[in-house]
């Protein structure tokens, strides 16, 4: 397991239930650490917990139109992934992330 690089993240998801099922998922996290690099993207394989676990970084989930779900989650990063996903331009990102998740 990799150490968390920040205390708080957000992620945009299409399926909240699947994301918080407890199974490993592939996500793009946005680092909410204050400073010049706030909102930096980080692709990971991780386990999301809701309600949050106290020893894990806080994670806020947002919908595909950016609405923040009120219940906080936490995230345990299992693996940092490459900065991009292999797919043609305009491909569905969520499908590409799911493919990576299935291949791990």
């Amino acid at each position: 397991m990799m150490a968390a690089s920040a205390a708080e993240y957000e992620a945009f998801v299409r399926e909240v239930v699947a994301t918080t099922s407890g199974a490993p998922v592939v996500l793009t996290l946005r680092d909410l650490t204050p400073g010049k690099k706030k909102y930096r993207g980080l692709n990971v394989r991780a386990i999301v917990s809701r309600p949050p676990k106290p020893d894990e970084p806080r994670l806020w989930l947002r919908s595909v139109v950016g609405v923040r779900y009120p219940q906080p989650c936490s995230v345990r990063i299992l693996e940092e992934l490459p900065e991009t996903f292999t797919a043609e331009p305009y491909s569905d990102l969520f499908d590409a992330m799911a493919r990576v998740g299935r291949s791990r």
Partner: protein
Amino acid sequence: MSHKDLRGFLGAIEASGDLVTTDREVDWDLEVCAIGRLACERDAPAVLFRNVREYGGDWPVLVNPIATWRRLAIAFGLPADTSVRRLYQIYAEREQRLIAPTTVEDGPCKEVVVAGDGVDLFDLPVPMVHEGDGGRYLGTWDLVVSKDPATGWVNWGIYRFMVHNERLLTGFPRPTSHLGKMLLDHYVPRRAPMPIAIAIGADLPSHLAAAATFQMGGNEADLAGGLGEQPVELIRCQTSDLYVPASSEIVVEAEVLPDQIAQEGPYGEYPGYRTGEMGHAICARVTAITHRRRPIFTVDTTGFKDSSSIVTSISGAVAIQRRLEKHGVPVTAVYVPPEGAVHLTVVSVKRGGAATAQQVLDTLTARRALMSKIIVVDDDVDVFNLAEVLHAFATKCHPGKGIHVTHYEGRANTLTPCYSQAERVARSGATVAFDATWPLEWPLETIPVRATFDRSFPGPVQQRVLARWKELGL
């Protein structure tokens, strides 16, 4: 004649009272754009922030360069109080007088050059525009250059780009856009990266040309010269053979990856909403950043009545009128009201009726269908007067016979808020034409008569009333 660069334009809008400059510290994280957004909604001046948190005084940020008709008039080198109707005429005239650009060996945008591993997008004061956006948007008021490798055609467009990390951008030029088509037709099949250059803070005519609805194969640099009435000076990029306006404040050079994607969006766009189009984008690796010393980072705080709505209102309307004329529609005027977020257009015609309304609809949805609502009015309605247009729509459009709808696949505007996620993915949608003209088959003597001052009173009575108006205390 327009100003040669952004700084000349800023001097002019400051002199006219259309720019506020502040040295008070503001936060790039939402605060800058919250101020800019409210300024758009209140038709307030543009704002130049000279003290942005964590970036200090070396990276000023300008929000909403255009966003009002006054500032658009100044961008054309005209008095700020020039009427909208006159601005439309000026645009249509200058659009016909293209002026080719010149090239220069050195220019302001090369004062500082950062390339390769030295590139860090977080060195730029890229703002978080809206709460809930997918990230920080570098490209809002930009000019993106791309080139067709088969024909050498160079395209300029205003496309959104978001910072993913230090060297990676993601963006959403729509797949039906000129850049999108170029990428899909010529680079993706060859698995070749597509060079692009994102110019920020160029001269205003160049941005107006990039935002224009211009024909495929047309050279927007020539259009910029025409709109500004002088040639634009272009300079070669550091890492590609693309050329950008030499006066640009900042230039980000990059390559769009033909086989990689990353998260982009959602983003609060010009229709005034953050729609669910995220996750179908492109990504680009930055190869170099060049800029002026103490460059001005420009931002359009996109949403209701933003800069792009004003600019596209005029270029879109002129393009629509030309297309309708080319297809034989008896069009007399076209207006795309900024309040309609480039989704609504008003077309007046000499000869109305159902067939004309259908012809307008068919012509405007043949390739790309950015407009989803069209109101067709008779030519006695002033298209620039929305009260008259609304009156005609409310009273003359037959609710059973006057509504013409066309459905299409593969060319809809994916940013249209009323479309479902499935429709966005399929780019399927519809456009409706509201026929607010009198039916051609009605005998003239039976057409309802407007109960207005100019239509329901004899000339002598009108003249007497006008002569006595002040005397009556009115």
